[in-house]
């Protein structure tokens, strides 16, 4: 059983390495395309400089203080917004999800508010906070909060009736049931919610910086564009993309760690034998 399990773990990690290699191959191909297209004049290098020039601009930009403060501003708004969304989504999700009456009462309101695009709130944010970080936070939180809330609502309702009855039979009170039964049941849903929210939060942080000139990578993108520094503009866009990839990888690693017991990740006794 142990040996079978070990070989399964090995098979899994080999498969993962292969997927990684394929992904890397795709990236190299895309970089080559970006290099060739402007060089053969398919798109004017004035609008799309070759990839090598973008990278050179990026490395040069990375030596400036402007780059690092823009990066940290974006990450700060992203992180603060995400934490607030997750905490609010969890607390409100458990509160609403635990009561059927509250769930029914809030359902239509949530379904009305949720599809409102965050960017529609830009005028409101500007009115309230101008181009300070709070404006970015309004947009980030509004967009990512729903991702978390909806997942937690689903998760809370997914508690197995047998698990619930077991908890009641063995004298677990309301708090103990939330902590030991509801919370672990909702956790896989929450992890999905966090992963989605982390991506959305990044999109909205940069959108807000482009649109309302709050400090960060997005502002650098619009500033360099209007200043005609096209290669640097692309360099910032690439940085935004890289952050997105790192955020997603981080969220997945967290998921694997926290949910080691979950059927989607664990290796069952039955699996090991098979």
């Amino acid at each position: 059983m142990k040996a079978a399990q070990a070989s399964k773990v090995r098979a899994k990690s080999t498969a993962r390495a292969f997927v990684w290699l394929q992904g890397l191959g795709g990236l190299v191909g895309f970089a080559l395309l970006l290099e060739i297209v402007p060089r053969i004049g398919l798109i004017s290098p004035n609008y799309l400089p070759p990839f090598s020039e973008i990278m050179a601009a990026l490395f040069k930009e990375m030596t400036t203080a402007v780059f690092w403060s823009a990066l940290s501003d974006t990450l700060e708004a992203w992180a603060i917004g995400l934490v607030i969304s997750v905490v609010a989504g969890v607390v409100i999700g458990i509160a609403i999800g635990s009561s059927r009456i509250v769930r029914t009462l809030t359902h239509s309101t949530i379904e009305f508010l949720r599809p409102i695009p965050s960017v529609a709130l830009i005028p409101l944010a500007v009115l309230l906070f101008g181009s300070q970080i709070q404006s970015t936070l309004v947009l980030v939180i509004y967009a990512s909060f729903w991702q978390v809330l909806i997942q937690v609502l689903y998760g809370v309702q997914d508690v197995d009736p047998v698990a619930r009855e077991t908890a009641r039979c063995y004298g677990l009170g309301t708090w103990a049931q939330i902590r030991y039964v509801t919370w672990p049941t909702a956790l896989p849903y929450l992890m999905t919610g966090i992963r989605l929210a982390a991506a959305v939060a990044l999109i909205l942080a940069i959108t807000s910086e482009v649109a309302i000139d709050t400090q960060g990578l997005g502002k650098q993108i619009s500033d360099t564009e209007s200043g005609g520094a096209v290669a640097i503009m692309y360099a910032y866009i690439i940085v935004a993309g890289i952050i997105g990839v790192i955020v997603n990888l981080g969220a997945r690693a967290l998921e694997r760690r926290v949910l080691a017991w979950h059927p989607s990740i664990r290796l069952d006794a039955a699996d090991a034998v098979a």
Partner: protein, 261 residues
């Protein structure tokens, strides 16, 4: 010890009404091991949930140790058929057994001792840090039994606990229940659809009718207290009891009911 009086349960929703239990009354004395057997759809699980305080009866009631049941009684433990769903997959074996004890006010050392003793009592050692889903079905149900044992209940309810394990494991677990029952002097109410199992385990077997449920017969099992799979099951008396209960169940399936009274 445990008394069920005129219990009736009707499920109602907007579209229809289903009478699951019509009128069930019986007593279980302290330290008794009583089996409830009935055809499928006899409302066995409904009855057990009412006794466990998980479901409110429509009429009548349950009294455990002189206290009317309105919620899960503190001196009662339940072992469910679906061990895979009743054990928490996010907790180790040790933590699963420990969790109910955390709700009780006792020193940490005493809790650890109870967990250790309970796991030893069900012949599980060295799996404390494993997760339930890493164990076989039979071992998982042993963990669930250990959780019940560690809880130090006065009454143990078992809802078809061995319906989902293979025959060999089942025989072992039946013997385990007999051993634990005699050693711990706990009152056991064991629900099953398996006639052989009910005769092998019980001091009494209560035969239930089809829904709406009443009790068809309360059969005393006059087999010796020392029971072994091989000898007990080949006794002439075992065969007679088995045959008698089997014919009662057949009657129940045909819809026969004892005259009201």
């Amino acid at each position: 010890m445990l008394e069920v009086k005129g219990l009736r349960k009707v499920y109602e929703d907007t579209s229809r009404t289903v009478e699951a239990i019509r009128d069930v009354s019986f007593c279980v004395g302290e330290g008794e091991l009583v089996c409830i057997v009935g055809p499928s759809g006899a409302g066995k699980t409904t009855l057990l949930k009412c006794i466990a305080g998980l479901l409110a009866p429509t009429a009548g009631g349950v009294i455990v140790e002189a206290t009317p049941v309105v919620g899960p009684p503190p001196a009662m433990a339940v072992v469910f058929q679906e061990y895979g769903r009743s054990l928490f997959p996010w907790m180790s074996v040790h933590d699963n057994v420990m969790l109910p004890l955390k709700q009780k006010n006792m020193p940490a050392a005493r809790r650890e001792e109870l967990v250790r003793d309970a796991l030893a009592a069900v012949d599980l050692k060295g799996v404390e840090s494993a997760y339930p889903w890493q164990l076989s079905g039979g071992m998982q149900q042993r963990v669930a039994i250990a959780r019940a044992v560690a809880y130090e209940p006065h009454v143990l309810l078992m809802d078809e606990p061995f319906a989902a394990v293979d025959a060999q494991t089942r025989a072992d677990l039946e013997d385990l229940i007999r051993v634990l029952w005699r050693r711990l002097r706990v009152t056991v109410l064991f629900v099953t659809h398996d006639i052989d199992e009910s005769v092998y385990l019980g001091q009494r077997v209560m035969v239930m009718s089809q829904a709406p449920t009443v009790i068809m017969e309360d059969v005393a099992v006059d087999l010796p207290d020392e029971r072994t799979q091989l000898e007990t099951r080949s006794m002439a008396r075992f065969g007679e009891l088995r045959k008698h209960i089997y014919s009662q169940i057949q009657l129940a399936k045909q819809g026969w009911r004892p005259p009201a009274g």
